[in-house]
């Protein structure tokens, strides 16, 4: 029995190694030809000059945009594969400070009102700080980016329970139609066509993988005025799953 457990462990290690090598190869060997396509496109465009004609120039723009998407997708796959490998440091996080920093680093926070509310007996906790930060940032970024109103309201509510922190990030934006709610955590899924709103469709996938890794929960519920509520239950004690 012990013998077979040992061989299982060895097989698992070998598979992990194979997987890491695969990711490394993907990151280098696919990126090089991809960059070449992007660069050569720019050179041809440059050599043709501004008189090439509107159709041709428009096609160049499309081509570069699609290669850009390819790069974003590849980077997202890499990030997803590294979720439980990198940035695994436990350190003390101050909730209000972390939320404040996430809000400050949003690059599209114009016309957004943030309403923040805490219900904590202790504002600090020792956790995988970079991971928690990533999830909170992704959800705030989504709330702002996909908002469809002139004045945008985004709500952050953090509550301390006995064994976890309940973090709710909600908005009064367009919400998510019932028929697609089961797809939003799938990689590269976007509610809007990528031509309407260019996004990779990886933020929620990465966030849910992080939350799952720490043994927590993430789910969507419809909010007031058809907006969205994303709720995370982030455990106080992190139990890492392999």
């Amino acid at each position: 029995m012990e013998e077979s457990a040992k061989s299982c462990q060895e097989e698992l290690s070998a598979l992990k190694k194979e997987y890491e090598d695969f990711v490394y190869i993907v990151s280098h060997d696919i990126k090089t030809p991809m960059r070449a396509i992007s660069n050569i496109t720019t050179w041809i465009e440059d050599d043709l000059g501004p008189d090439a004609g509107a159709d041709i120039l428009n096609n160049f723009t499309l081509l570069k945009n699609r290669v850009g998407r390819l790069e974003n997708m590849l980077n997202a796959l890499l990030e997803l594969s590294r979720v439980n490998r990198t940035e695994m440091e436990l350190y003390e996080v101050n909730f209000p400070k972390m939320v404040e920093e996430c809000i400050a680093s949003l690059d599209n926070g114009v016309n957004v009102k943030f309403h923040v509310n805490y219900n904590l007996s202790n504002e600090n906790c020792i956790t995988l700080g970079k991971k928690l930060n990533k999830v909170v940032f992704n959800l705030l970024d989504n709330a702002v980016r996909f908002h469809d109103k002139e004045i945008k309201n985004v709500f952050v509510d953090v509550r301390e329970n006995e064994s976890d922190y309940e973090i709710k990030i909600s908005d009064d934006g367009p919400g998510i139609a019932e028929e697609v709610r089961n797809k939003i955590f799938a990689i590269f899924y976007t509610v809007n066509s990528k031509d309407v709103l260019d996004s990779t469709g990886a933020g929620l996938t990465i966030s849910s993988k992080i939350v799952e890794m720490v043994g927590g929960k993430i789910y969507y519920t419809p909010g007031i005025n058809n907006g969205s509520i994303f709720q995370i239950n982030w455990p106080k004690i992190i139990s890492l799953k392999n």
């Binding site: 990151s27 990126k31 090089t32 960059r35 070449a36 660069n39 720019t42």
Partner: protein
């Protein structure tokens, strides 16, 4: 005072990336002479036989056949005559291990090759500012 332009040795195995650097040089109006080596072995040879004259700096890719960038750097730092040359790493590798290895071998900068040529032109312009200091 007449400035003496540094000679640039580009160690890069990908033809498009070599063309990229040449084009970025011309876009930035960079007049420094550019030498190209396809791998680390060739680069060491070009430095030791003075095919690349002094003063010189190196722009180095990491992922290359024969001798990769990190192995090349180790050889360079072990060579009494070559160990003081400034090296700029220019690579697609965003791996922490590659960055740590490179900095441990005393590199002057670590640049990630961007996807767009426009951004690459900016990166090369920044590089130029660095090596201009070596020309004073």
């Amino acid at each position: 005072m007449i400035q003496k332009l540094v000679n640039i040795l580009l160690v890069e195995d990908d033809e498009v990336d070599v063309m990229n650097v040449k084009r970025a040089f011309s876009k930035n109006n960079i007049k420094n002479e550019l030498f190209v080596a396809g791998n680390g072995v060739e680069a060491l040879d070009m430095l030791r036989t003075s095919i690349v004259p002094l003063p010189r700096i190196i722009i180095l890719d990491i992922n290359m056949p024969k001798m990769n960038g990190i192995e090349f750097l180790k050889n360079l730092r072990d060579d009494e005559n070559l160990k003081n040359i400034s090296v700029f790493v220019m690579t697609t590798s965003n791996e922490d291990s590659d960055k740590i290895n490179a900095y441990n071998l005393n590199v002057a900068g670590y640049i990630l090759k961007p996807l767009s040529f426009e951004k690459f032109i900016t990166s090369v312009a920044t590089l130029k500012n660095f090596w201009s200091l070596c020309e004073m």
